[in-house]
Amino acid sequence: MFDTIKSKIITIVLLMLLMLSALLSVFTYIYYRNAKELIIIGRSFAVANFAQDINKEITRIEDGARQLSIAGEIYLNSVKNKKLAEDTVRDIVGVYKNSVGGGIWFKPYVIDPNRIRDCIYALRKDVNTVVIDRKLESDDYNYLSQKWYKEAIPKIKEQNQVIWTTPYLAQGGSKTLMVTAISGIYDKQGNMLGVSSVDWEIKSIVDSIKKIKPTPNSFVLFADKVNDYVIVSTDPYVDNVDLMGKSLKEFPWYSENIANRTYITYQGKKFVPYVKTLDNGMIIVVCVPKFEMFYYTVYHVICLFIVMILISFLIALVLYMSLNRNISKPINTLMEIANRISAGDTETEIKLEKPKEFAQLASTYDKMIKDIKNITRERDKIESELSIAKEIQASSLPSTFPPYPDRKEFDIYAYMKAAREVGGDFYDFYFTDENNLLFLIADVSGKGVPAALFMMTVKTLISNLAQVRYNPRLLIETINKSICTNNKQGFFVTMLAGIINLETGRLSLINCGHNPPLVKKNNGKYDYLELESNMVLGAFSGARFDIYETVLEKGDTIFTYTDGITEAVNADDEQYGEKRLKNALNNALDSDVYGIINNVKEDIAKYVEKTPQSDDMTMLVFKYNGKAPKVEHYNGIAKKENYKFFSFWLRATCQKYKLDKQLTQKIEVASEEIYTNVLSYAYEDGNGEIAIEFIKEEDDIELRFVDEGVQYNPLENKDPDIDQNPKDRPIGGLGIFIVKQSAKDVAYEYKDNKNILTLKF
């Protein structure tokens, strides 16, 4: 599975990416933990900043209250110029654009002993317009009896102190939430003679606070701690409207030490409280659900992780596809082409342009294919030339069998199979004169073309020299000298040659370093002939050779072979061997020369099975049939008038071959009878041809009578009864009886529209 470059690369990249992801995740986790802290701190800061802004506002309003106090003090200590005071108050209120209104309020009789109340109140109509509101100076309002005045007076203890009322709904139908900052007005002696107030609509703050929702399920509480008054809350689990103005104690999760708590548990969930106390004693508490606090963080980390893994796999996939296209596919293409080339297909073209590295490789491949094509073509040419050479060489060995059909004195058969296209083995035979036949078998050292050429030279040389009628010894020595002369390459030839006189059966055998032949004599069994093994031909120019002489009888057979036969190996590299060869011959003693060689061929084929042939295999068999039979012919028209010519010929022939009187008589008598039969019965017109063949083989005489007349077997007739009374004797039948009595054997056959009667004497 990891065998391909592709898979290795992908695995490595994937591992690297996963490692990277893991590292990133570790860092992210560490970050996450820090992030938690940071978030907590961050949130704190956020809330703190928010509180800061509100504090600034509070400070401004308190400043406003103080300024109004100062204005009051001036009014008090001045010539009681109300108009001036009113302008001042108006100006001051105008400056504090967030205020709803502001005023100064004096204790009874402080300004004017006659007046119980003295106050100035400026009301903001819009951002830039502030007017004095005289309504509040009226008896209807009577500030002295107002709750806020009554509660404020005892709370203010020192100069510059500003106190805040509990939030309240404005009078008049607006129902906006207001809070008032009150400061004391003091005389030079430090007695508090009145208060200043600034009214502040805290709706905007409340709205801002309501918007505080750092996470989806966070909520906020805004309360006046000093006055124990809940101003606003966005707690989704309570009726916020109901709780407004109520004590903090009624707030379900609130506690005094909430600022010190890391978590509060509320509604089965943990919340992180962010508490900020404002300068005026108000508090903002933001509760963030714990799980949401880090929710995004965890969420982000996990998303990040998943995304990273997905990206890793995506990268791996892209890499896989890219590698596939850029490496695997071109390589597979090249491999496929290589396979096709080795299977013999050289016509394939390579089409590879991308990637560049492979384009280079592809063009190298292309060139290689062209070279292979050329080499193959050359090789094919050489092979075909070698095939032609093989044919030429094979046809130079005598291959017509029987080579001399009219020479009955012997039978000869030979077989050669080269191991390669051309071989080094050869055989040859020819008449050196009318009665002498030379036959030989030879093996040239080496294989292939050089050996084949040498073989052709030697073969020609021998046949030329053999015509010169040297005696066997001189012939061989001359052949050897000749071969040695032109033998720069140092080839040599082993050879077994025989020269036989067919008249007498006298045989001269010469063995030049060759395998001894297997000889069957006197109808016995084949055995290896022990004869002198002389030097091979072509080795030493002055070599002497010893000849082996013997006389062959009728039926004697000589089997010669080359070592390709005995050294043929089977799959176990064991040789066929001399013993098996001898047994193969002895297992079929009655075979003719063709049968002998075919038997050995078959036996070897069975032995080697599929093992290829490693050396040339050659065999030559010579069988002596004794002196040739003598054959005489007579042809003529079978007519009574012509009988004398036939008779004369027959007698002359018997005389020629010195047959004794009795035999001659028998032959004559029988022949006359047949002749008479033919002339009498064979042809309708009595004018048919008769052919007679006289064959003498040793002491056996055979007479063959052939005519083309009516199919008639004279032997079909019954023998006459020679004891019969002559009176009752039929005339016919006697002749054939005489024939049968005279001849040793009488045979009839009808073949090719010819009557053939064969008499043997």
């Binding site: 009574k640 009988y643 004398k644 008779s647 009187k661 009795q662 008589q665 004559e668 008598v669 006359e672 009878e673 002749y675 008479t676 020679i722 004891d723 009374n725 002559p726 009176k727 004797r729 005339i731 006697l734 002749g735 009886f737 005489i738 009595q741 005279s742």
Partner: protein, 101 residues
């Protein structure tokens, strides 16, 4: 084949044959002797075969015809039959009925 016919006594014919009695000569041999027998009322036929070297089945047939003819008329005998002819006579059983001396 050469024939020499001599009438001896009243009705005796002495035939001296020389040569072969074969396809070539047998018929003529037969005809000549038969004619002589008829012409001369021969009752005894003597065939001198001293010089007859050969006889074939044709000759045998003629001999048989002569024998059958002479059996009605008188006698026939063969004299001085040589070995080759004798062999044939023996082979064919002719020696059993022919008067051979």
């Amino acid at each position: 084949m050469q024939l020499e016919l001599k009438k001896i006594d009243e009705a005796k014919l002495y035939v001296k044959a020389e040569g072969k009695i074969d396809l070539d000569s047998a018929v003529e041999f037969g005809t000549t002797i038969k004619d002589a027998i008829e012409d001369n009322d021969i009752a005894d036929l003597v065939l001198d075969f001293e010089r007859v070297t050969y006889i074939s089945s044709i000759g045998l047939r003629i001999i048989l015809e002569l024998h059958q003819q002479m059996a009605k008329l008188g006698t026939m005998k063969l004299v001085k039959v040589q070995e080759p002819v004798l062999v044939i006579f023996k082979m064919t059983g002719f020696d059993k009925f022919l008067h051979i001396e």
